[in-house]
């Protein structure tokens, strides 16, 4: 049995709390960026196989806009911020006030891509700095990279480190709830994928015994 499959409920709860701390801070940043209230919640810490992870965002074929960054420091890992192209457009419209662009099919608008990348940068930065303070571990985001492509192709990149030790991934998922437009609620996903070696460090810092 791999490490991931043997995590206790107590440890999973602790990871969920870690996600809550990070996403709370990111929600505040996003609210300021968009100038209205945005909620984020961590519905679950999921243990999924790779194919299930693709299904979480609509299947491997689904077109997604994803900001990917590598977490460097004492507890390295990967992080994704995933939106559907429609949701990405709504966000960019709210941020820039511009209506005249498309991210649903190539060629993608440069201004919109830049705005999305900056949003990913701000969100990931605030998420990680809260996390870093909470568990007292140095975490630094790499420069975020934005890609709009098939979900399978993008998300598999974040699983490579993990796939050497496990057929499963622990996903600390965050759902963004934007109440600005009741008809078109935005549902973004934040995926935090710590490297396998980072879990003992995180648990250790939280004072949770390793099994």
């Amino acid at each position: 049995m791999s490490f991931i499959e043997s995590l206790t409920d107590y440890q999973l709860d602790a990871l969920k709390e870690v996600g809550n701390i990070g996403s709370g801070n990111a929600a505040t940043s996003l609210s300021m960026l968009l100038n209205h209230k945005v909620d984020m919640k961590v519905p679950a810490v999921r243990i999924v196989d790779y194919n299930e992870m693709m299904e979480l965002v609509g299947g491997p074929d689904k077109l997604i806009a994803a900001v990917f960054l590598r977490i460097e420091g004492e507890a390295p890992g990967n992080m994704f911020f995933v939106l559907s192209p429609e949701e990405a457009e709504t966000f960019v419209k709210q941020m820039t006030g511009s209506e005249d662009f498309s991210v649903q099919e190539p060629p993608f608008d440069e201004m919109a891509m830049s705005a999305l990348q900056e949003m990913g940068n701000i969100l990931a930065g605030s998420y990680l700095s809260a996390l870093s303070d909470f568990i007292n571990v140095l975490l630094q985001p790499s420069v975020p990279l934005l890609t709009i492509d098939m979900a399978g192709a993008i998300l598999a990149e974040g699983l490579l480190e993990l796939s050497q030790v496990s057929d499963y991934a622990i996903i600390i998922d965050t759902i963004i709830d934007d109440h600005e437009d009741e008809n078109k609620p935005i549902q973004g996903h934040f995926f935090l994928l710590p490297d396998p070696d980072s879990f003992p460090k995180i648990f250790n810092k939280l004072g949770i015994p390793d099994q």
Partner: protein
């Protein structure tokens, strides 16, 4: 061709599936992963692997899914085809994938995994003397591929360049 009656067989990540005429094999969202089709056109039998990593020996655990690695998945694919009636000398291959989805400036070797996957796949096919009749590899786009054993065409779809048959 009775395409209407053909069944679509989906191949997941780190997965391996087989098809006989008139069924069609498909795997979706290949990034740095490589999709490998090996077939015997006369015996009308094909197998498709979705390879994620080049080498099982780099793994830190031994009991992992063998379909994940080029060096373990492809031998199973080839042996099973022969057991099911394909002739070894008639086997041909088509491959697609191995893209680099993100261009990090980091020296991290994991990020060149697309290229290493393609090289590992070619090494195994070469060992078995299986010719690669068509390939669509590298680049920076995700691919969805579909293979019909009746036409022996591999259909490759990308978001930015549409579809093509190779």
């Amino acid at each position: 061709m009775n395409t209407l009656e053909s069944k679509l067989i989906k191949v997941g990540i780190a997965d391996l599936k087989f098809a006989k005429s008139p069924d069609v094999l498909r795997t979706s969202g290949l990034g740095s992963c490589v999709g490998v089709v090996i077939y015997d056109a006369s015996a009308k039998i094909a197998g498709m692997a979705h390879v994620m990593l080049p080498d099982s020996k780099s793994s830190k655990k031994s009991e992992l899914n063998q379909f994940k690695y080029a060096d373990t998945s492809l031998p199973i694919l080839i042996d099973t085809l022969i057991k099911d009636g394909a002739r070894k000398f008639a086997l041909k291959a088509k491959i697609a994938g191995g893209a680099q989805m993100f261009s990090f400036s980091s020296s991290n070797d994991m990020l060149r995994v697309g290229q290493r996957n393609v090289e590992a796949v070619k090494t195994v096919l070469n060992q078995y003397r299986i010719p690669i009749l068509a390939e669509d590899v590298y680049g920076s786009s995700g691919r969805t591929i579909e293979f019909s054993i009746d036409t022996t065409l591999l259909n490759v779809r990308t978001v930015s360049q549409g579809t093509k048959d190779i």
